[in-house]
């Protein structure tokens, strides 16, 4: 089955950031991801869509080896980041995750102050030489997270005291603070109300200028709004991958069409 036959044609003016070849993921006896080949472009928002349990989140988590934290999970195949296989035994997942940041479904600020939440990554990676450096990084990250104006007067208040949308933007700012090249977002808006969702989506659009963003989403509208590329997953297979406009208006695979028109999902 050549699900990904359409991917080749889209590589023209942009560069490929991540390319996955023949990726298989097993959870104990379950084959969660089958034969996924995909090339994800830099400075682009790529959306993974598909029904629940289709493997889109699992695949996202293989991209920064978050699956390593689950004992029963095995990954086969190759995932290249800038041409280097991230599953190479010489690669340290810690170093990888600094390059490939992640934002989770539920906002998960640490029970620390807003400042310490942002400074956490730079501190552990040694990005700041001194306090002044750190202050600059924190400010820059909060600005990039589009939350600076809301929190600049209470940087030392606990991060858990913010509203849901603010918490999620704080988490995005936290991810940005480690200067990643890729940002993975696992349904970042599913726990947020529509207004907060709008703010985060706007932010994602901004982030595209500096990062390669991969977003898993349940909502096709959201995929249509924020992404340039869309990949449709179904039962662990990558069914179709292409420009978002194409996928939504002119899907090739009948399964994609069924999903988009609401017959499966």
């Amino acid at each position: 089955m050549y699900d990904t036959a359409v991917t080749e044609q889209t590589v023209d003016q942009t560069t490929t950031k991540i390319s996955a070849r023949n990726v298989q993921v097993h959870y104990a006896d379950t084959h969660a991801i089958r034969d996924v080949d995909v090339k994800i472009e830099d400075k682009t928002v790529t959306a993974f869509i598909g029904p629940s349990g289709c493997g889109k989140s699992t695949f996202l988590r293989t991209l920064n080896r978050m699956n390593d934290t689950i004992d029963i999970c095995r990954v086969q195949g190759e995932i290249l980041l800038d041409g280097e296989n991230i599953y190479d035994p010489k690669v340290d997942p810690v170093q990888l995750r600094a390059k490939v940041g992640m934002v989770f479904q539920k906002p998960n600020p640490f029970p620390k102050s807003i400042y310490d939440n942002i400074a956490y990554g730079p501190r552990i990676h040694g990005l700041a030489k001194n306090k002044a450096d750190l202050d600059v990084i924190v400010e820059k990250s909060l600005r990039r997270g589009a939350i600076w104006n809301e929190v600049k007067d209470r940087l030392h208040a606990p991060g858990t005291g913010l509203s849901g949308g603010q918490q999620q933007r704080l988490c995005i700012a936290r991810a940005v603070a480690t200067e990643p090249e890729v940002l993975l977002m696992d349904e970042p808006c599913s726990a947020l109300d529509p207004i907060a969702t709008g703010q985060v989506e706007e932010l994602i659009d901004e982030l595209r200028k500096n990062y390669c963003v991969v977003i898993v989403t349940h909502s096709m509208q959201q995929a249509a709004r924020v992404s340039q590329k869309t990949a449709f997953f179904h039962l662990g297979n990558l069914v179709e991958y292409g420009d978002t406009g194409e996928i939504f208006t002119n899907p090739i695979d009948p399964r994609t069409e069924s999903y988009i028109t609401g017959r499966i999902g």
Binding site: L81, D88, D92, H125, G126, L127, A146, W148, L203
Partner: protein, 456 residues
């Protein structure tokens, strides 16, 4: 959404971190961090290992020190029951025979041992001939007298007796006593040990399994070789009966009330707070309660298993209540609704449906509570179950509850306090028995849980 686009001019956009551009080469910082990670992990492994080593040390100490208590050295001695000494009138009148005290049997033992030595061709090298009796436990004369009183017709014959060796001789064969240590000991000379060695070689002296330790009674301070834990085991048994008979129904009733019927009010809150605090009150305080309320105020007898049982009941109640409530809580509300739905009263739904389903959990909790009570010592110290020599088994049920007795942990404590190191071996041996009881109770609890555990 304006601030996201403001470029912060002061921050150099290129990473100043010195972070390696390739993933395949580790930079120094990551290497250091990984080393820290490994160190941290080693601390964890170390902590677990230390905990396990402590456990192993404890178990080794118990088994190595307590094991010898289960064997005992015996000497088989032919004793001539001389008629002239035991029954002067010769008419086998039992009352006459009983008049001869154990003291009168002493020469018989000395003679018997001398015969034994000659028969085996061993010289009595002792300066005083009758010192040979020191090889034998002081309890031997009592044993012979009991035999004579039971079998008066054997007077005049020579009977083979298996007598307990004295604790020093026993300790010599267990490695506790050496010729050097005897130099300061007036109970036995090194010469005795030579004789004992010779007897051992000829087979007249042997080490055998010590049933008396498991089944027998405590002995006086000077006769460790005779002491057993059997009677205090009975004391513990009667205490556990009291605990079971009181703590189980009261605990279950309390839990049912709190879990199923209690309204949210101050009294209920007070009960809840009390239970959680009682669970953490030091056990010695329960001993003070027992002393003041049961013995001083209610004038119940001191040292009685009944009082011990009452104190331990109060101490165990919180444990049982907490586990019973947990298992009542685990029964899903749908069961209650189903019973109420077919017209059962609340009380019927609880007693017919919820309680039977929660029973395995309740029993498990009760057994664990009992095990805890069985090993508890501190409160027993205060109600006088220590310092009492449990030398007679209770005769009958009422006496079992009311007559002074000891309990297993109290007996162990008592032995540990005695001066003769021979008693330490008994204390460790007692611990082995106590732990065997606790282990089997816990295994039963685990099996119960495995067998009946239900996932809803």
């Amino acid at each position: 959404m304006t601030d996201a686009s403001i470029p912060s001019a002061s921050v150099p956009d290129g990473a100043p971190s010195g972070r390696s551009s390739s993933l395949l080469t580790l930079d120094g910082r990551v290497r250091r961090r990984n080393a820290a990670e490994r160190r941290f992990r080693m601390y964890g492994i170390g902590a677990v290992a230390i905990g396990l080593i402590f456990l192993a040390l404890l178990l080794v100490a118990i088994v190595r020190n307590g094991g010898p208590a289960f064997t005992q050295t015996f000497i088989t001695v032919p004793i001539e029951l001389v008629e002239a000494k035991l029954d002067k009138t010769g008419n086998r009148d039992l009352d006459e025979i009983k008049k001869v005290s154990t003291f009168g049997y002493k020469p018989l033992v000395v003679d018997g041992l001398s015969v034994l030595l000659t028969r085996n061709g061993i010289d009595n090298v002792l300066t005083k001939r009758k010192d040979i009796a020191k090889l034998i436990s002081a309890s031997a004369v009592g044993q012979i007298r009991d035999h004579v009183v039971a079998n008066p017709d054997q007077i005049g014959q020579t009977v083979e007796f298996r007598l307990l060796a004295s604790s020093r001789v026993d300790g010599y064969f267990k490695g506790r006593v050496s010729r050097e240590s005897l130099a300061r000991d007036k109970n036995l000379d090194a010469a005795h040990l030579d004789i004992a060695d010779a007897l051992m070689a000829r087979g007249a002296l042997d080490r055998a399994f010590n049933w008396n330790f498991i089944l027998g009674a405590d002995a006086s301070e000077s006769r460790p070789e005779q002491a057993g834990i059997g009677v205090s085991m009975l004391g513990s048994f009667f205490m556990m009966l009291v605990v079971l008979a009181l703590a189980l129904p009261i605990g279950v009733a309390t839990s049912i009330y709190l879990e199923e019927f209690a309204p949210q009010n101050r009294w209920t809150d007070l009960i809840e707070v009390n239970i959680s605090n009682l669970a953490a009150v030091p056990s010695i305080v329960f001993g003070i309660l027992g002393l003041a309320v049961f013995i001083q105020f209610a004038e119940l007898p001191q040292s009685a298993p009944l009082v011990g049982g009452l104190v331990l009941t109060l101490m165990t109640l919180p444990t049982i209540i907490i586990s019973t409530r947990a298992s009542l809580k685990a029964v899903p509300p749908s069961i209650r609704d189903a019973a109420l739905g077919v017209g059962a009263s609340k009380m019927q739904s609880v007693f017919h449906h919820v309680l039977p389903l929660a029973m395995p959990g309740i029993l498990t909790g009760t057994i664990i509570g009992l095990a805890q009570a069985l090993g508890e010592t501190a409160p027993l110290l205060l109600i006088g179950m220590v310092g009492y020599i449990a030398s007679n088994p209770p005769d009958g049920i009422a006496s079992g509850f009311l007559d002074p007795n000891s309990a297993m942990p109290a007996q162990i404590y008592e032995w540990a306090k005695r001066a003769d190191p021979a008693y330490y071996e008994r204390a460790w041996g007692g611990i082995i028995i106590l732990l065997l009881f606790l282990m089997s109770m816990n295994i039963i609890a685990i099996l119960l849980r495995r067998r009946f555990e239900r996932r809803w």
